[in-house]
Symmetry: none
Subunit: 189 residues, 4 copies
């Protein structure tokens, strides 16, 4: 065959991954499909063989980005919560939009999308918060999940602020302060 079996799935996956990075880097509405397709090694015309519309791509790319972000927590073997926080708020995460957290890069835009996309986000976000709770004492309790969500919100807001600040020294301070504050949200055993 001109294309081996599974070729289409691989191609689609490639498009999704490229789109995920483009969306995170430049924003959803500022990302054009033509650019995504070119970066995927394809032409414009092939897009609609894989996706019904740009919105469908957004949904799949968001889902993939959330899964990937989630896997950063779960694939590392055992890590403690402080390590997770420091890893999220480390300096390099500021500039690495395309490989970073989709929430930090896209949340307001997600909030303006359709219910379907919001549902996708909701699922991914809840899963992430639950994994974060596993790093805390008493992982199954409701309060722990609440604490995990708070830690996530704080990290998220801190990273976004750091990214939107001009002065490098202040950036570092915001990150470091964010780490300290996040640690305060860890519940006692």
């Amino acid at each position: 065959m001109r294309f081996e079996k599974g070729h289409k799935e691989i191609t689609k996956k490639r498009i999704i991954e490229v789109a995920s990075k483009c969306f995170k880097k430049n924003g959803v509405s500022a990302t054009g499909l033509a650019g995504v397709m070119t970066k995927s090694g394809l032409t414009n015309g092939a897009f609609y063989a894989h996706f019904k519309s740009k919105e469908a791509l957004i949904e799949e790319a968001l889902s993939a980005a959330l899964t990937e972000q989630h896997s950063k927590l779960t694939n590392k073997g055992k890590i403690d919560i402080e390590e997770a926080i420091r890893s999220y708020l480390k300096e390099s995460h500021i500039t690495n939009w395309d490989e970073g957290c989709p929430s930090a890069a896209l949340l307001p835009e997600i909030g303006r999308q359709s219910q379907s996309i919001k549902k996708t986000y909701q699922n991914g976000m809840m899963a992430y918060a639950k994994s974060l709770a596993l790093l805390l004492p008493n992982p199954e309790s409701e309060e722990t999940l609440q604490a995990a969500t708070a830690i996530f919100s704080l990290m998220l807001g801190t990273l976004q602020i750091a990214r939107a600040i001009a002065d490098p020294a202040l950036k570092d301070k915001v990150l470091e302060d964010g780490i300290q504050s996040a640690l305060k949200l860890i519940p006692m055993k």
Copy 2:
């Protein structure tokens, strides 16, 4: 004279206010200048009499939005920190994009803009954090400013998450949990 003195400034201010709402509501890159001008009661061609480019408008609109958001804290007379937090995370803020916090609506997009715009954001954000710190015990200390920034980051992230979630019940829970967690970040006297 065809227009009394000051007319131009008034017009410009109107454009900025309209743009500020449009940016917050639909995002910066999804907002077109034509729409802004039409909503301002002007025609397309008049834009460049007031602004060098879209970027210049972004900067001025952002500045205005930050000032307005700031004034919500300072204009109310005496309020305590809990009231401020509850006010920020009240349910109506979820849907009121255009009259809400510019950080919650625009932060990732601001982070992708030029240094000049980031500097604008930095100033507005620092001022806001300082005003927030005034509501806390020991307002002048460095730790208090850090706490205020943390509270702001947490509120910000929480609001964005609530806006990006599909399920209404979960939305409410996220907001309520956010309030509880924010309160924990208030330093003791």
Copy 3:
């Protein structure tokens, strides 16, 4: 063999019939091959196994549509000319584009096609006119063929006008007047 003999012909015929309806319903140039293939239960790629190009399909679909329209005259057993006229100009024919007369739905577009397609139309149209002449007195005479052509032209124009009119009452009147006028073109015995 994967497909029994004759499978291809059946498939091709199905494509032609689907295309014939689509062309009549939406017009030739507004009809996409993808839609035709999907409605035929096939995929895009299969098209060029059956037709050299869209133009080839147009030609075959036109031919089929003309034949089908012709058969409406000849398959009914004995009918008189008035019945034929009333049947053509009955109200339901206004809305039934896809099962109606190809001339009424497509003539200007056919006039813009290649000589080859025009030849196809010419043959089908002449055959139709001759069958119409058979319903008139003195069927073999040249004047009768001329009268039949005139009746056909009148019906055709009338139906097109009725279809292009907005007011339902006027539509009905146009049809009814068309019938009366067509009857006047019937030669005396």
Copy 4:
């Protein structure tokens, strides 16, 4: 001024006239806005300063074409009905799509458009029929209008058929027969 007063109206009129010809020549759905604008000496971007959408242009171009066609009947001073028929069905009208009758070129496509466009057509067509009736005996009677409509339908259908026929000799015959038949529809004084 860069553009004298009334410039915009002139430009719009030019677009409409160019579009009218393009629509008649190539059909509505096969005509692209880019081509129309280029032929009007403008670029793509200027289109939406003049029209809300392609549909708006269709409506205005159709209206203009109907008016122009109408004026062919009324501007010539006194003509008799036979002259009008011969003029409509003269050979040159076959090839002159772009300067010819909009009904002959576009009717089926008009029938597929929105109610609003159909209403435009209805008005133009009724006016044309009434002017045609003025050339007949007893111009004000209802029967005369009916006869005029019938003559118009017959001419229309005949021209379309002639245009869709490949053989030149047959074309001529169809036209000539059409003239003869149309004359038969003229009511007696």
